[in-house]
């Protein structure tokens, strides 16, 4: 019994030692991210750009948000972002793949215009194959016509 208790204690100690994103003495995390960088990644990925039906132009309401993303990416030049263009379910699949690419490209071009290094960006279109929300009606469709921003390297 004593032996099992010892093994259990050792396993727990090892598990604690391998905990991810553990803070070190200088305030950085074990994965190399400072709290500021972690917050920057959060801001880059959390905010999405939404589009009108069959459109790919960036609405003015999203320009400040994209500027903020651009500033963060310029500040943290190791961050690499994949822009994922998406569509709602109403259009047809092949055309939506092209439209999703145009949506991803619209954000890409805007970020590059704002000074982001193109090497920090990549694009993909999922068309209507990867909806954010299920369901019918404008409230669901409007959430699916979007660009997602995924940090793929930092």
């Amino acid at each position: 019994m004593k032996r099992y208790a010892l093994i259990l204690t050792l396993v727990m100690a090892l598990a604690a030692g391998f905990g991810c994103a553990k803070k070190s003495a200088d305030g950085a995390y074990d994965d190399g991210l400072t709290p500021e960088m972690r917050a920057a990644i959060q801001q880059i990925t959390d905010a999405r750009v939404y589009f009108a039906f069959d459109k790919f132009d960036i609405k003015s309401e999203y320009k400040d948000m994209l500027k903020n993303k651009a500033d963060l990416m310029k500040r943290y030049s190791t961050i690499r972002v994949r822009i994922e263009g998406n569509c709602d379910e109403r259009g047809t699949q092949e055309y939506n793949l092209a439209l999703g690419e145009r949506r991803a490209r619209a954000a890409y071009e805007y970020l590059v215009t704002l000074g982001v290094n193109p090497g920090q960006l990549e694009m993909i279109s999922y068309g209507k194959e990867n909806p954010a929300v299920q369901g019918k009606g404008e409230s669901a469709w409007s959430k699916n016509r979007r660009d997602d921003f995924r940090v793929v390297a930092h």
Binding site: D54, Q93, E94, M123, I124, S125, N130, P131
Partner: protein
């Protein structure tokens, strides 16, 4: 190997019965505006003792009946309406009492004869006669037939019968490629006969396959493949049964389509907009077929490879256009509606079938390139999409959600009640594409 030998024996041994078979006067015009109906009776299958064949004979009859049920211009005669019944004294004139079939309204009677009996591995003879003249449309003998080969015999006989009546037996000689979606970003390519037989999965890849297209020689199926990181061109080789995933510079690989010369056209990234590229025989970029400052996707070709229909946003919303690849002239095909996509050009080049977004979902329309007339051929419910012409330029397969989940359905250039192709469940079936007819 054993199976290959057996099949080789079976199909090498196919032979027309008699050299002096009367040529059919009876033809069914399936292409004209007033589609004919032909009434067809199946005589009871006979065995060597001239009694009714109740083993493989009955099974083959059932398969032929099922096949003929896919032909909207064929009305099967109810055996109960044939005075004196369908068990005949013989399988060819003068032993056939044509009068009883004429009285039942039948235009054609099909006889089936098993000279060695109908159990084990046997030969079978199938003949079709015109009831008014007693003339033979055609006859075929299939040798060394086992019960597992009956579906193949039924398909081959029905293909020959269809060809004798309409000029093309492509429907029963083709295989549909389609995709089955089993979850978000998860779909693979499958094959099935239009009758629902020979269902099989040919790819098993993580990610989503879309837009399959057969090579004219039947060796390859190409398709778009999307995984979380990239688009690629998927190439399935029927010889090796392996799939190759070919990447291209840029972000998109959309709607590949084989041309009659076995080259592939596909929409790829090229600057700001996807453009339609022609690839060479080893799937490398050869030249641009259509591009510009707009979305250009979904190429489709006639059987000569000189006409290409495609979807373009050059006038705002997506519309269908036709390009003459010799002159380079582009004309607009879809004149109505604000969202027309997924064109498919009939092999004879006379029709463009496409889907249009309506207030009630997508619907399928046909544009006649000769008369300029447009016609709606599906009416839902749900959404009808991704139409595809069979090699006969008559049958059209499409994907529809009319049954709840998405499935594959068949209709014709004239419309009519769609018939579902069984695809085995376990996912949403879409993107049906016909192979060339294989004799």
């Amino acid at each position: 190997m054993k199976k290959i030998c057996l099949l080789a024996l079976l199909f090498c041994a196919l032979s027309p019965i008699g050299d002096n078979a009367a040529q059919a006067a009876l033809r069914v015009d399936i292409y004209g505006p007033g589609q004919n109906i032909v009434n067809l009776a199946l005589a009871a299958p006979l065995n060597s003792s001239r009694g009714e064949a109740t083993g493989m004979g009955r099974d083959l009859q059932r398969l032929v009946e099922q096949n003929l049920g896919f032909l909207p211009f064929v009305r099967l005669t109810d055996p109960k309406s044939v005075l004196g019944g369908t068990v005949l004294a013989g399988y060819e004139p003068p032993s056939i009492d044509f009068k009883r079939f004429q009285l039942a309204g039948s235009d054609i009677v099909v006889t089936c004869y098993w000279p060695e009996g109908d159990s084990g591995t046997r030969s079978v003879q199938l003949r079709a006669f015109e009831t008014n003249t007693g003339g033979r449309l055609f006859g075929k003998e299939y040798t060394r037939v086992s019960s597992s080969e009956l579906p193949e015999v039924a398909d081959r006989f029905c293909a020959d019968l269809l060809e004798a009546l309409t000029g093309s037996g492509a429907f029963f000689r083709s295989t549909l490629a389609f995709v089955k979606k089993t979850g978000t970003m998860s779909a693979n390519v499958w094959l099935v006969k239009p009758t629902g037989r020979d269902l099989r999965q040919i790819t098993n890849m993580p990610g989503e396959a879309l837009s399959p297209s057969w090579s004219p020689d039947g060796r390859f199926v190409v398709f778009s493949h999307i995984d979380p990181k990239s688009h690629a061109l998927g190439v399935w080789d029927s010889g090796s049964k392996k799939v190759q995933r070919i990447r291209f510079p840029g972000n998109v690989v959309i709607g590949p389509a084989f041309m009659p010369d076995n080259k592939v056209a596909v929409a790829l990234s090229n600057g700001k907009y996807p453009v339609i590229f022609l690839l060479n025989h080893v799937f490398q970029k050869e030249r641009i077929l259509e591009g510009g400052d707009s979305i250009n996707v979904s190429p489709t070709f006639d059987s000569t490879g000189t006409k290409m229909a495609f979807t373009s946003s050059r006038m705002g919303g997506p519309q269908i256009f036709l390009k003459d690849l010799r002159s380079g002239a582009v004309t607009r095909v879809s004149k109505n509606g604000t969202y027309n996509t997924e064109a498919n050009l009939s092999p004879d080049g006379t029709l463009v079938v496409f889907s249009r977004m309506t207030d009630y979902g997508h619907r399928i329309f046909v544009q006649d390139m000769v008369t300029g007339m447009e016609r709606q051929i599906t009416y839902g419910p749900g959404s009808d999409e991704q139409p595809s012409f069979c090699g006969d330029s008559y049958f059209i397969a499409f994907a529809s959600s009319r049954g709840g989940g998405r499935g594959i359905y068949l209709t014709t250039r004239h419309g009519g009640e769609p018939k579902q192709v069984p695809t085995g469940g376990g996912g949403q079936a879409a993107f049906p594409r016909w192979s060339a007819a294989v004799k």
